[in-house]
Symmetry: C2
Subunit: 108 residues, 2 copies
C-alpha cells in the first residue's frame, strides 16, 4: 500500500538490501519490527517491496524520531542479526522529503 | 542491485505505484525508460522492486536534473500513458538525501 503521509516536509529512510538467503527467522523478525515501528513516536508509515532486491521506505516526522527508532532495543537486536546473519549487503539513506504529488484512489 | 551513489547531499525520487493490471506495453515502456534515464545529465542510479506494490527510487545530482528528466519528451509520453492506462495509483516524493551508511560487498 502507498503510505498516507502528511504534507512535506517530513523525512524518509530508504533501506535497500540484498538477503544472503531466505530465512524464516528473518521473516519473523521483519514482522515483529513492522508491528513495533507503528507505535514509535513520529512514525508516519512505510512501503515495502522485494523481488531479489528489497526496498523498504519508512516515513518520519523528523530526524529525532528516526534516531529514536534506530536505538530502540529490539530494533538494535534486529540490526545486529541483520549484519551478522541475514543481509549480504544493505544501504540506508536518510532523506528530507521536500515535495510530492500523486494520482489515484489510494492517494490522498 | 544497490545503487552506487556518491557522498550526500544528492537527491532521491521515490516513486511508489500500484498497477491496474500487468501489461506488456507497460513492461516495454519501463525498459525504454530505464535505458533512456541512464543518459540523463545528473542521473546517479536507481533501485527497483515490485511485489504487488512497486517501488522505484532514482538518484540525482540536484533538483534541476530531476526537472529535466520529468520534462524529457519520451518520458512525458510515458507519464501520460501511466496516468491514463497503467497505474491504479502512484505517489512521487522528491527528497534530499542528507546521510547514508551501508554494509556488505555491493556497497562502497
Amino acid at each position: 500500500m502507498i503510505a498516507q503521509t502528511p504534507a512535506p516536509p517530513y523525512y524518509a529512510v530508504i533501506f535497500t538490501n540484498v538477503l544472503s538467503e531466505p530465512s524464516k527467522a528473518y521473516q519473523e523478525m521483519a514482522k515483529l519490527m513492522e508491528n513495533l515501528v507503528k507505535d514509535q513516536d513520529g512514525y508516519l508509515g512505510h512501503e515495502s517491496a522485494r523481488d531479489g532486491l528489497g526496498i523498504t521506505v519508512s516515513y518520519w516526522r523528523d530526524v529525532e524520531a528516526i534516531n529514536q527508532w534506530k536505538h530502540q532495543s529490539e530494533h538494535l537486536l534486529a540490526q545486529k542479526l541483520g549484519r551478522e546473519q541475514w543481509y549480504q549487503s544493505f544501504k540506508t539513506r536518510i532523506c528530507r522529503v521536500e515535495r510530492e504529488y500523486g494520482f489515484g484512489s489510494e492517494n490522498t
